[in-house]
Symmetry: C2
Subunit: 361 residues, 2 copies
């Protein structure tokens, strides 16, 4: 079958050239007579891939030497626990800003580790349709850190500004918009992201951590959960998920090849604009619940007149090779995830379908 | 290049048919128009693979319904912490039997979680050349559990009997010999293993856990570390490492195809016997430090007269397409890892080389 238009929320579509490269050398990596999966994580062949993935991340982001690039396992949900285990000592408290289901989960998990506070929330009836303003936040100047979720995968909202937290370290879950455009990482003390939306397959989690924060992190937790362990061992303390790192390397190399994050941003803005324009042009058929200034360029969420109509929309789109459009099971509606690897052409195809669907009513 | 003879200690070689299957369908999984990596972990296509991997493990092992099969991330080294986090409540103590470097690491990590005891150790000058006898163990009848390592990857020893722990749950790190032959898992309360030696690529950890143990495990730890979370959600609480699970499925399906664990054991015994016979036939050149009844059928360890000679052995073998023979950086010497995927023919090739090397002196 021809490749479909993949709007999955994560694991998501990957750039075809990154997959083709993997396919080509799956049985024989660079003439070594084995798959990259069969190489030792302590051998030269894998270590070169590993280090290239790290330096590509540094280069694409323009990351300063004040930061470690760490590779971990366990997904972003494991970071919900690992962040407070490292950064929240007894007697301190951490601030959480709630903007969606994932920030709620991060808060709930942190509660099992230490003392937390809600420093702001835009929930109305358990739904989130906007990002808060600075004036709505009540930040604790003594907090160990402030936690935020830069893009809210379920509700389709995204921060287009960053909160001022003064001297308090800002920690961000960037799982669903890391590398969606150039970002000033120096605004954050720590960033974490599961790779499976914008930069790779599932099974690998990227952590960008300011070195001083890692140095002063808690040492009374198991070694395997300490950021310092990964920092001291170039993320090779134990066996890493070698193939996931390899494939992420392929994705990052391809990202650089097409022009880096400037080009990525241009494409992502184009895709988002196409979709929101189409939604706004048919207010009788499509309704976007999210306030305009909080709209996400990664997950575009909208509703139709009824759940029945939404089901029909998803089914008819699937027939035409567009998959992954059903909203999250907890929210319903339609969700179009347009991560970095989704081609502009796929969104053009979808918006054409939407216009036609609207016409037919 | 032709595929090499891969004696890597882990990540290790994989069965060629399992890799070829992955290569064939890497861009289009079963006519769905996407890679298995691009499928949602909540979609039908992936869930079928996931459930097949679980049932293949059940079938190959003849596992009873009293056990959960859980898939986790983080490697075996994460289980060093997760086991005591779940199974070692405050006020209790756990027994550790030391038979190598990995059991030492498991002990050290458990110390950071709770109270532990060494219930036996065969270390002499920090080296291990044998498995203890029952009479050498001093087991605490009130221990929360007893921890053992069934195969000692670094030192090349393997348990060929199991300790009697009475009513105390027996927990085993089976990372380097899981599925090397049929085993009676009912002797264990919990088994864990990183997949990257016998059953798949790195990035996926298998846990076999008795249901009653999971039910009574600690609930005052983060959700992401509770075995109960994985048990309640079919290991889909958060995004699993989908490609690693898929590839493990391919390996397990191939294992069944060639005749299951009876055939696997036949091949593994053959490989081990070939190697030990060759070593024993040339006592002037090769010296196996491990006592005969403790010899491992997964990692065959031996020394040559000098480090220089060992270097020459490794270098000459590499020239003839045999790789991965250098011992672990902490032990030195030669280590031949002959996990399930290593063909008998590769060992025949190696033993011919050894005989020739011995002749040349
Ligand atoms: C913003 C955000 N955080 C966390 C997660 C959880 O990630 P994982 O499944 O890798 O644990 C997701 C997954 O969709 C997400 O979108
Ligand atoms: C017996 C044993 N336990 C644990 C480990 C550590 O596994 P991982 O690197 O997956 O954490 C290894 C790795 O070689 C091993 O052989
Ligand atoms: Mg999701
Ligand atoms: Mg959310
Ligand atoms: Mg090892
Ligand atoms: Mg060992």
């Amino acid at each position: 079958m021809a490749r479909v238009h993949n709007f999955n929320a994560g694991p998501a579509g990957l750039p075809l050239p990154a997959l083709e490269r993997a396919q080509r050398e799956l049985l024989d990596f660079e003439g070594t007579g084995m798959s990259i999966m069969e190489h030792s994580h302590r051998g030269k062949a894998f270590e070169a891939v590993h280090n290239e993935a790290i330096s590509l991340l540094r280069q694409l982001l323009g990351l300063s030497d004040d930061y470690h690039v760490l590779f971990m396992q366990g997904g972003a949900a494991m970071q919900f626990a690992v962040v407070p285990m490292n950064l929240l000592p007894p007697g301190r408290s951490a601030d959480y800003i709630l903007t969606g289901g994932w920030s709620e989960k991060a808060l709930e998990e942190a509660k099992r580790v230490g003392t937390v506070r809600v420093a702001g929330s835009t929930a109305v009836d358990k739904r989130y349709t906007r990002i808060p303003h600075q004036g709505e936040l009540s930040l604790d100047p003594n907090a160990a850190y402030v936690h935020m979720t830069t893009n809210n995968t379920l509700f389709g909202t995204q921060w287009h500004w960053l909160p001022d937290t003064g001297d308090v370290p800002l920690v961000a879950d960037m799982s669903s918009d890391i590398l969606w455009r150039k970002m000033d990482i120096s605004r954050f003390a720590l960033v974490y992201a599961g790779a499976q939306k914008n930069i790779g397959p599932s099974g690998i989690t990227v952590v960008l951590a300011r070195k001083d924060l890692v140095d002063s992190a808690r040492k009374d937790i198991p070694v395997i959960f300490r950021y310092a362990t990964y920092a001291a061992n170039n993320s090779l303390y134990n066996t890493p998920p070698t193939f996931a790192i390899y494939l992420m390397r392929n994705v990052l190399a391809y990202t650089l090849e097409i022009g880096g994050l400037e080009e990525v941003e241009r494409r992502n803005r184009k895709k988002g604009e196409l979709l929101y324009e189409t939604i706004d042009a048919h207010p009788d058929v499509f309704r976007a619940p999210v306030e305009k200034e909080s709209r996400s360029f990664m997950n575009v969420v909208f509703r139709l007149a009824s759940e029945e109509m939404e089901k029909r929309f998803v089914a008819e789109a699937a027939k035409e090779g567009m998959v992954g459009l059903a909203g999250h099971r907890s929210t319903g509606g339609i969700r179009v995830s347009i991560y970095n690897a989704v081609p502009v052409a796929s969104v053009e195809r979808l918006t054409a379908f939407m216009r036609d669907f609207a016409k037919r009513g």
